[in-house]
């Protein structure tokens, strides 16, 4: 049985980067929405 390549680090990096972008944008939008709702 071949051993699978040790590339879990890439996976972590990608999943963290994606989460950062998704959450970053969503939170920014949320803040703008709050301003638009309560001004």
């Amino acid at each position: 049985m071949l051993k699978p390549p040790e590339n879990g680090g890439y996976m972590t990096a990608a999943y963290v980067a994606a989460a950062a972008i998704y959450l970053g944008y969503a939170l920014r939008l949320w803040a703008r929405a709050a301003r638009a709702l309560h001004d």
Binding site: P4, A13, A14, A17, L29, W30, A33, L37
Partner: protein, 233 residues
């Protein structure tokens, strides 16, 4: 005028709900992909990036098409809400495009042995990003709202027509100059369990898009209503 302001605020609230569902779904996808989907033995854990990258790319392309089509409708019908929706879609689309462009090379390096390849699909992802950025840059550089709407609509339509040409030209180039791939990706057919995770991820991307675009559209509507009120005051 306060009527349209109230309506705009309702749109934002609705968007927030959908976006919240989308974000919860995203968390679910993370768990599904990381915990409950088997690892691909020949490619290792890095293969799992696939479940984030591909749905984001499909969504980015879909959203760009939406921007183009809605822009064409705007040029035809002159309804400013169409322009506001195109703007909202472009902003959300650039976020998906950023995900696509970030996860792509991180995936390519362990799987293909190189950070980047000028093949039709990857080249297209880069172009999509440039087109989105160009669209948003143009919008920020035009003062008059009507002019801004018209100009960005033209760019969006042109961009949409460009997409197949980029794909075609790189494809033609590649069939003439086949490029060596350092590590070949493994079997193209996708086992059922992995396909399921991929499709769930795509569905979540769509929900997230729907929620975020609704929020952003609502914000645009609020601004529009306020500007209208100021003009009429």
């Amino acid at each position: 005028m306060s009527d349209s302001l109230a309506a705009a605020r309702t749109v934002i609230r609705r968007g927030r709900w959908i976006a919240a569902v989308g974000l919860a779904g995203l968390a679910g996808v993370y768990v599904l992909a990381l915990q409950y989907t088997p690892m691909e033995a020949s490619q290792g854990l890095a293969q799992k990036i696939f479940y984030l990258h591909v749905p984001a790319a499909w969504t980015a392309l879909l959203v760009f098409s939406i921007v183009g089509i809605v822009s064409a409708l705007y040029l035809w019908l002159h309804d400013p809400r169409l322009d506001l929706f195109a703007e909202a879609s472009a902003e959300v689309g650039v976020a998906f495009s950023a995900i696509m462009l970030t996860t792509g090379p991180i995936w390519a390096k362990p799987i293909w042995g190189t950070w980047w390849q000028w093949d039709p699909r990857l080249t297209l992802t880069l172009f999509l990003f440039f087109l989105y950025v160009g669209y948003l840059a143009l919008r920020s550089a035009v003062y008059d709202p009507a002019e801004r709407a018209r100009f960005s609509a033209v760019v969006a339509i042109m961009g949409l027509i460009l997409v197949p040409f980029v794909h075609l030209s790189v494809y033609l180039f590649r069939t003439i100059h086949p490029m060596p791939i350092v590590l070949k990706p493994s079997a193209p057919s996708l086992p059922g369990v992995m396909l399921r995770t991929l499709l769930v991820s795509f569905a979540v991307c769509l929900v997230l898009y729907a929620g975020l675009v609704t929020m952003r559209y609502g914000i645009g509507l609020v601004q529009h209503a306020r500007e209208g009120a100021i003009d009429n005051a």
